[in-house]
Structures are given as C-alpha cells and as structure tokens.
C-alpha cells in the first residue's frame, strides 16, 4: 500500500521528454505553472489540459501512474471543490438552493487547476532522474551563490531526500507490518486513536533515519565528499536544438494564455 506512493519517483524511459535537458524541463514547468494561472475560462483550461495531455502522451507515462500521484491530494481537491460550490454567489441551481451554477463551474475549474498543477510537476519528476534534476536545479540557481545562498547544499539535500524516499517507505512498511503482527490497529477507531497508533511507527522510523543519516555522512566523507567546491560531473548537461525548440514552444504557449486572458477568455 505505502509502496504505491509515487512522490518523487522516476520512471526511466527514452522518449523525447526523457531526453530533454533537465534545465529545459525545470524552466518549462515554471512556464507551465505561470500559464496555468492565466486560465480563466473553459477555453483557457481546455488549452492547458490539451497541452498536458500531449506532454503525457509524448512521455509515455501511463494515466494510471498519473492518477496515483494525484490520489494523495484527493482530499484537498474535493474540499476545495466543496467550498467553491457552496460559497460562490450567482443563480441557484433551483430556487432556494445555495448551490449555484457559477459555484459548480468554479468548483470544476479549481479541481482542474489543482490536478493540472500536480500532473505538470509530476511529469517533471517522472521523466527526469533525481541526479539530473538536482544537477539542473543547481546550475539554474547557481547565480544565487553570489548572494551566499547555499545552492549546492540545498540541491544535495534534495537529491539525498529523493534517494532515501524508497528506502524509508520500505522501512515504514516493514515497521507497520511488525506492529500489526503484534496486534496494532491503524484502520479503525477515532482520529485520535489512530494518530496514537501511528506513534509506535514514527519513533522507530525516526531513530533509524538518524542512524542512517549518521552512517551516510561517514560514507560520503570516506568518498572524499567535501562540499560543492571543485566538484566535477560525470554527466555533463548539454542544451541541444530540441531543448531550444521545446523552450520556444513553451513560451508560445504562455503567450497564448496571456492573450486569452487579455481578451477576457
């Protein structure tokens, strides 16, 4: 069950989307998010949805894996939708109801917005290996080093976090099974009871995470890690024609969205 969590997971592949430079993909995701927030009408949302579906098709990511990424957020999505349904003024669906046509429209659009936001960013992590992702991020953010922002340290922490997600998930699964075997019950009872039942999982998980961190630090030092200074990369990032084409397409998409917004669509 916990193994199904796809957060930060990478699905290796060899599609155009996979082969794009990570820097291109990070910039495209930023462009995508800005563009998404320009959408105001059905036409706007339709265009963003279309672009997202095309990218998904190009990257050959299965819709089911996409859905798995969205699933953990379902609660928030539904809550946002409900709030919008009930708190938007307009023409009631039937006389006397507080649900309005405008409310339903807003609710659907909000849901679309959140789902598209998640899908877009997951498309990045699904098609980019964590190392490439953090390398790209480090290079893109490197101007900030001049302002004494610890860019290398931040991206290193991110890549370690991504590296250890599968390990920690497997460990959580193991601890939960061990506690269940001893009669622990995580599924029934009041919210407080269930939260209490989680405590015997969190404590061993934290203890082992700290031990891991300790050992990992020693192992990294043993392999001559001493910060970002003087570090080289085996895999050099290169921008190819396809990267520039992709960026131009992204900018065109953003321009289209801005124009749509200007003309009130």
């Amino acid at each position: 069950m916990l193994r199904d969590v796809t957060l930060g997971q990478y699905f290796p592949g060899n599609t155009v989307v996979h082969r794009l430079d990570p820097r291109t993909k990070i910039l495209l995701v930023v462009i995508y998010i800005v563009a998404l927030f320009q959408a105001q009408s059905w036409i706007g949302y339709g265009l963003v949805t279309l672009v997202t579906l095309v990218c998904m098709a190009l990257s050959k990511i299965k819709p089911s894996s996409m859905f798995k990424g969205v699933k953990p957020m379902l609660f928030i999505i539904v809550l946002t939708a409900l709030l919008n349904i009930f708190y938007t003024e307009g023409t009631p669906v039937r006389p006397g109801w507080i649900i309005t046509w405008e409310g339903i429209a807003r609710a659907v659009q909000m849901m679309l917005r959140i789902i598209l936001l998640i899908s877009g960013t997951f498309l990045l992590t699904y098609t980019t290996s964590p190392i490439a992702l953090t390398d790209g991020l480090e290079i893109l953010l490197s101007p900030l080093k001049k302002l004494k922002v610890p860019v290398h340290e931040m991206t290193m922490m991110m890549s370690m976090a991504l590296r250890f997600i599968p390990t920690l998930i497997a460990e959580t699964d193991k601890i939960m099974s061990a506690q269940k075997a001893r009669g622990a019950d995580f599924e029934t009872g009041s919210l407080i009871q269930r939260a209490k039942a989680l405590l015997p999982i969190l404590v061993p998980l934290f203890v082992s995470a700290f031990k891991r961190a300790d050992e990992l630090a020693v192992a990294m030092e043993s392999r001559c890690y001493h910060g970002g200074e003087g570090r080289t990369r085996m895999k050099q990032l290169v921008m190819r024609p396809r990267d520039y084409i992709a960026l131009v397409l992204g900018l065109l998409f953003l321009a289209a969205m801005i124009v749509l917004k200007r003309v009130g669509l």
Partner: protein
C-alpha cells in the same frame, strides 16, 4: 616489506566515553597484503577502521597512511583517496538512484575530468561484475550486488587500500561469497592492500594475516593456520574455529593422524584423503600377513 598503514601507540576514546575504545594499538600493514580483523562486538574494530582514513584521528599516538599523518588536516583528502571504505549496511552508503551515478560520486568529489570519470566508472563496474547493472536502481539489487556496487564506488577513486568493515554481516551466504571473492581478487589480482573486518572465520582462511582485537587491544596477530589452530586463544576470544579446522581436530581426537593444519576446503579434503589412504595401506599390508577373509 614496505608498510602502507602504520599505527604507533594509538589511543582513542569517543568524547563523553570514559573507557578508551582503542588502547595503545601498534600495527603495520604490508603493501599488497590481505589482513583480516576479528573481534567481538564492541571490541573496537570499526573504530580501528575509521582511523585508517582519517574519519577519526587518535587522541594519542599517530596513524600514517602511505607516509601521511592522518592528523594533518590539510591532507585529509590525500589520505581518503588512498583508502576506500566499505561499510556494513549497503543502503546507507549508496548515494545515488542509479548504479553508475553512485560509482561516479567519489571521482566527482575529487574533481576528476568527466571523460576520465566515465572510464573509471566502467572499469570499476566491470571489475566487480556489475557493468550490466549500471543503469539499475540500487534499491532493487540484492544485498551482495549492492555491496559490490559500494566496492566499485571506492575502486573508482583508484585507492591503494580497501578497508571493508563487516561488509558481509547483512548478507546471505551467496552474497557473502560474492563480496569476499571480490575482495580477494582485488588483492591478488590488482595488488591492492585489503583490510577485511568480519565475523565469519571462513572468510579469513585465505588471508595473509589475521588480527584479533579485544577491548581495544590487539591480542593476536599471525597467519590464519597459527591463529585457528590455537583453540585456547579462540575460546578466550569467543571465536569459533573454522569448520575445516574443527573437522581435522575432531578427527585427530578420534585417532587419525594428520601432519600440520589445513584450513582451505580443498586442502582439508586432500589431507583427509591422504590420511585415509595411508591408513588403508597400513591396514592392507597388515592384512597381507593374515589369511584373506
């Protein structure tokens, strides 16, 4: 013979620990040799290992690696690139999500040219037999494969010494054999100096030298044949005789005659076969003088 690691009267205690974890260690490891270190839990084996690449430095005395004092902070990287360390838990020493990226980690830290890193990564992965798995995710490999990736990760630094701290403790028998065979091939084939810390006696049989550590002191130091023949010493240190030595001892106690010791399975089998043949011969020569039944 030229020493590559030298400990001179090394004392160490962890901050806040009242007892010393290393208690006056004097040791000299010959270049190109294979040294096995045995000892019970808490005897200071890991502490000893961490002194070999300047993760820890002595409170008293000094450690020299290839002539460099590990206490000299300006040459820490020079020490570490000479000494590759492999630890017990493979999951906690693999830093990347793809095998070849992990192997590249050390040379990247050392600022090696990208092309040269690629060459070293491929060579290291071939050496440990993991080249076919270079694009795999480490967390999906078996324990023995993960440890071989970890070994490749330190070989890519092109070290002169490899220190393995209980690399087989979390592995199944198959994985254990993979790792120990790899360690021996690095020593015998590539001339690297190997220090193997272990709990398994069988893994020390082919070593050039066996050390026993007990409460922070070296209590025994000798060839495996000598160490494993000394039943009193092993009992005192809470160690078991290897299966082969035990078999020979038990047969000897039962009245068979063997010259010397044989720790390797082949040697042991040969000795037993020879002894049996000798016995057969003496019996048949005795039988010749009596009428056949």
């Amino acid at each position: 013979m030229e020493p590559i690691i030298v400990f001179e009267n090394v004392h160490f205690n962890y901050p806040g620990d009242e007892k010393e974890s290393l208690h006056g260690i004097d040791l000299s490891v010959t270049r190109g040799s294979f040294v096995a270190v045995l000892g019970q839990n808490g005897s200071g084996k890991s502490t000893l290992a961490k002194h070999m690449n300047a993760i820890l430095v002595p409170n008293e005395g000094r450690v020299l690696v290839d002539g460099i004092d590990t206490a000299d902070e300006s040459s820490v990287l020079d020490v570490r690139r000479r000494v590759g360390m492999v630890f017990q838990n493979p999951d906690n020493q693999i830093v990347a999500n793809v095998v070849e990226d992990d192997v590249a980690f050390a040379p990247e830290n050392l600022g090696v040219e990208p092309k040269e890193i690629r060459r070293r990564v491929n060579a290291a992965l071939r050496l440990v037999g993991m080249y076919e798995h270079r694009m795999h995710a480490p967390h999906l490999l078996s324990g023995g494969q993960k440890q071989r990736v970890a070994i490749a990760g330190v070989i890519a630094m092109e070290p002169e010494i490899i220190v393995l701290d209980e690399p087989t403790a979390m592995l199944d028998p198959q994985g254990r054999r993979e790792v120990v065979d790899t360690a021996f091939s690095l020593c015998r084939g590539k001339g690297m100096t190997v220090v193997l810390i272990t709990h398994h006696m069988e893994e020390c049989i082919d070593a050039d030298r066996v050390l026993i550590l007990s409460e922070g002191r070296l209590t025994a130091d000798g060839r495996p044949e000598e160490i494993f023949a000394d039943k009193a010493l092993l009992e005192r240190e809470g160690l078991e005789q290897p299966e082969t030595a035990r078999l020979l001892r038990e047969l000897r106690e039962a009245g068979m005659k063997f010259p010397g010791e044989a720790l390797k399975i082949d040697d042991c089998a040969n000795r037993i076969a020879q002894a049996l043949q000798a016995e057969e011969r003496s019996r048949s020569s005795w039988q010749k003088s009596s009428p056949k039944s």
